[in-house]
Subunit: 294 residues, 2 copies
DNA sequence: GTCTATCATATCTTTTTTGTATGATAAATG
DNA sequence: CATTTATCATACAAAAAAGATATGATAGAC
């Protein structure tokens, strides 16, 4: 069975007259008769009752008529959807988001992009920066918001946000009490620390202490931000993580870390030298526009 | 475009290798290359990225792969249904199930129906309500369980379940702490919201707030229930979605929304004004009987 | 540098579809 | 009731499409 056959069948079912149908289809009548005969043979069912001077659909014929229209409509819609896709109006954008501020940053882009491109859907992939970079390398995702640093050979980037690394500690912690709104590295050197497990972060934090000729007491490297907060909340120690104000609850407070520049950058990244889909290109343009207007 | 072409395309899309595909299809490789080339010409889009030694599907190719399988399945089911038409005792029932409680509801029907009609097989199609309605409109499926509302011109319906819309939020969220087991709309008005992308849900939620003279701060519309939960888990904001207890995990909690009637209805629906197969008719009767006996 | 795997192109062959001619049937017409 | 007309079916030729064979191009693998 081919789509051509179904098209022919539909016209005949509507006209109930092979000759007229053949004129509409601009082919001759005998081939049309043949096509229907072959279709009936293939389905092992009569589709028409050849009565007297007029055709009539059998029950099977009526059923096929509906389904044939469904099938052809589905085919047509598929064609036009693919056309929309190739114009960059429709599709799915998969974007990796690191924990922290990234989902918040991206939510803004997504909601404004959706107004312009209502047919586009989003798929969010979670993970830490290293996970996401690995997923980009393997081609699983093409777009992401991660924290610096990153592989500049592999990825293009735009800076889209900045955040302080701060110390999280429970209200009842002895360092929480003092009146300063920052903690010194000397104070931190005596505390058990919970820090992000990303290698570059560990290195950075070690460097801070090395400058002050101290050794950090890292008791726990955590992948997950929320778990780290939970540990700080239980007074296991002080967590050093990006501030991200909206996750704070009442029992935990954050303090700046004195003496050092503890900023981390959020970067929107996409794969270099790799053919992106047209929607992805449009989305990147959109982000560039948003970032530049600020 | 013909069905033959789609069959060929599917095998190539699965093998990502024209030579292997040609062996599976038992034709030679050059005509296969040609068919794909013609298909691409017809659609005015590249379906494969010819990279180095391996083929890769483009976004358009991936889309066509899904649709081509839908189309061929519809054709096969139509053929076999025409075969079985007079019997009504065997065949395949395709039913769409929305995420949430629908699979649970349908499981009951299916198991009791199978006792009565042991030769009938089921095929379940997943998707959100809008997807499923779209598939019903396009004739891909004739039966589904979706959430209200729906197009009453297109579909007949029976109410088969009800569930609350609730707010999902991370344990550490400041609104999670208070002792009430519900959240007021005033509280929600200040929060970033993640809500189902379905238009009617957005409208409903806006109406809730309008009654209280507030404006909701919708930061993300998500198609996918689990992704929405993931974002809530990341404290991007509060997700408003149907409760469905079995997806809850330990770090996320749900709260009722005060002041409003936030129920959503589950409906069993089937296509209006369309001749269904005899098994499908039997299945609808079965469901009516089950629902009425409760 | 040669070999191998893979896809593309060119050309010929086969199959399928379409067209033409014609026959069969039965309702409409005079 | 014979003739005309409308309609579908069958037979066979022509055209188009699909498939096969041979071969070329390219880029990893060896």
């Amino acid at each position: 069975m081919e789509l051509r056959t179904l098209k022919y069948f539909i016209v005949i079912a509507e006209e109930l007259n092979i000759t007229k149908a053949s004129k509409i289809l601009m082919i001759q009548q005998p081939p049309l008769s043949n096509q229907i005969k072959n279709l009936e043979d293939e389905l092992k069912t009569k589709l028409f009752i050849r009565g007297k001077r007029q055709l009539k659909l059998t029950e099977e014929g009526k059923y096929l008529y509906q389904k044939a229209k469904d099938i052809l409509r589905l085919v047509d819609e598929t064609k036009s959807e693919i056309h929309n896709m190739s114009l960059g109006l429709k599709g799915v954008i998969s974007i990796g988001l690191v924990e922290g501020m990234a989902p918040d940053i991206a939510a803004n882009w997504i909601s404004s992009f959706m107004i312009k491109y209502p047919l586009v859907k989003f798929r969010v992939i979670d993970g830490n920066s290293d996970d996401l970079i690995e997923k980009m390398r393997s081609g699983l995702i093409s777009l992401a918001v991660i924290t610096a640093p990153y592989d500049q050979i592999l990825l293009n980037s735009i800076k889209v946000g900045e955040e302080k690394m701060v110390a999280f500690l429970n209200k009842s912690h002895h360092l929480a009490d003092n009146k300063k709104d920052f903690i010194t590295l000397d104070e931190l050197a005596n505390e058990p620390l919970i820090i992000p497990s990303r290698k570059t972060h560990i290195d950075t934090i070690k460097k801070w202490f090395k400058k002050n000729r101290k050794e950090p007491n890292i008791v726990c490297e955590m992948d997950n931000y929320l778990d780290a907060i939970a540990l700080a909340n239980r007074n296991v120690g002080v967590s050093i993580f990006p501030k991200t104000e909206y996750v704070l609850n009442s029992s935990i407070i954050s303090k700046d870390i004195g003496e050092i520049n503890a900023n981390i950058e959020y970067l929107f990244v996409w794969r270099k030298g790799h053919q992106l889909s047209i929607i992805e290109d449009n989305f990147i343009d959109h982000i560039k526009a948003v970032v530049n207007h600020k």
